[in-house]
């Protein structure tokens, strides 16, 4: 028996182009004198073609509209909560580039935002002597110094407010075109606050305020900034304004 035997798997791999060069050459050589071998290889080529022709047309079947819509909805939702999507829209200022790489974060964080806004709004309003209104939705900044800083100070600048430091992070417009600013309030013995305030007309309204965990620290933990990023996505925040754009935008409409 001079003929070499090949098992089915070898011949199938040959038919599929998955054999190594040496074995391929051996099979080819054997096929020259062995019609039976040729038939076996042909059967594997044909069975592949059969399976393909039976099932490949399925790809032309229209995807049900309901399925496409449902998946599109999931994609939209995922984008809305994906901090990296924000990174594509909002070019961050240098101070924000120092943040650790963003990671996925827990959604419950977003659920707690309303309570945080209330607490910080109370702080900001209370600083000017006015009692916290208890209004969850929005709090106007009554503190003249904070409002003045928001009105006039360029992003990337720090402003000293008594024992606190106000860091202006960026200016941008929300989806309605309203001017908004992101800023951080660092206080000596209390936790820092990261906040977004918008100026629909003359006054600054606090839209978001998140208490960071490190009292007196000079940096804001990633968790807080991720919350801010998430919020920026939900209001379709535009890219940060350039220095010139910001200067122009800050000038109060007279």
């Amino acid at each position: 028996m001079s003929r070499r035997e090949f098992d089915d798997e070898t011949l199938m791999a040959f038919a599929d182009g998955e054999l190594d060069d040496d074995t391929t050459a051996t099979v080819e050589a054997a096929m020259e004198t062995d019609d039976d071998l040729v038939a076996r290889v042909a059967a594997f080529i044909e069975s592949r073609a059969l399976a393909a022709s039976a099932l490949k047309p399925l790809i032309d079947e229209p995807v049900p509209e309901a399925l496409t819509q449902s998946v599109q909805k999931m994609i939209d939702e995922a984008r809305a909560s994906d901090p990296s999507a924000v990174a594509n829209n909002v070019v961050t200022f240098p101070s924000r580039d120092m943040r650790p790489a963003r990671s996925t974060w827990a959604m419950p964080l977003a659920a707690s935002l309303a309570a945080v806004v209330f607490g910080a709004g109370g702080y900001l309003a209370g600083q000017a002597g006015a009692p916290a209104s208890g209004n969850l939705a929005m709090t106007t900044i009554n503190d003249a110094e904070v409002a003045k800083a928001l009105d006039s100070t360029a992003s990337g600048t720090d402003v000293a407010l008594g024992d606190a430091t106000l860091k202006l992070v960026s200016s941008f417009r929300d989806e309605t075109g309203t001017l908004c600013r992101e800023f951080e309030l660092h206080r000596a013995s209390k936790s820092a606050i990261v906040s977004i305030a918008c100026r629909p007309e003359q006054d600054w309204d606090v839209r978001l305020a998140v208490a960071a965990q490190a009292p007196g620290g000079d940096y804001v933990p990633a968790g807080a900034t991720e919350t801010v990023d998430s919020y920026l996505t939900t209001i379709n925040a535009g890219a940060p304004l350039s220095v010139a754009e910001e200067k122009k935008a800050l000038a109060l409409p007279q």
């Binding site: 798997e9 199938m12 038939a39 076996r40 059967a43 069975s47 399925l58 995922a78």
Partner: protein
Amino acid sequence: MKGDEVQVSDRLIAFLPNLRRFAISLCRSRDLADDLVQAACERALASQDRFEQGTRFDAWMFRILRNLWIDHVRRAKTAGPQQDIDETPDIAGSGGERDAEARLTLKSVAVAIDELPDDQREVLLLVCVEDLSYKEAAEILSIPIGTVMSRLSRARKNLADAAGINSGTDRSPEKGGNK
């Protein structure tokens, strides 16, 4: 650079027809397949951080979908081969231009594919329909390449038998071994 990366969410919609084809042939029911595709997309979006840039997106999605299918089968033990037998002839599609004889052959191939054991059918789908390599199929299925090859060769011999393909003298001990 984040900007160079292609996000999972950008690719899902375009990939839906492929995903659905795989799902239909895997679970042999369009309703079930659509549920499965939806669940796979949900899973993919939730874990898109785990998708490694530069690796094959299709293989990653197939793996997610297939794992969900296995979970489903495990949970509903009756959801296996008995399911939706009535629907199986549909898998051959309805190409109006094909002549009756060709349609008959395709139909019988579709039925033959349908009647394959699950482990043979899924490897057949990945290699012969989705054109993945043995290695990629092995990774999706979490089995050795040798197992991919033995299942695939048995699947194709079963298919060839069903379609009446003459495969010469059979030297395989498992001729017709539909198990």
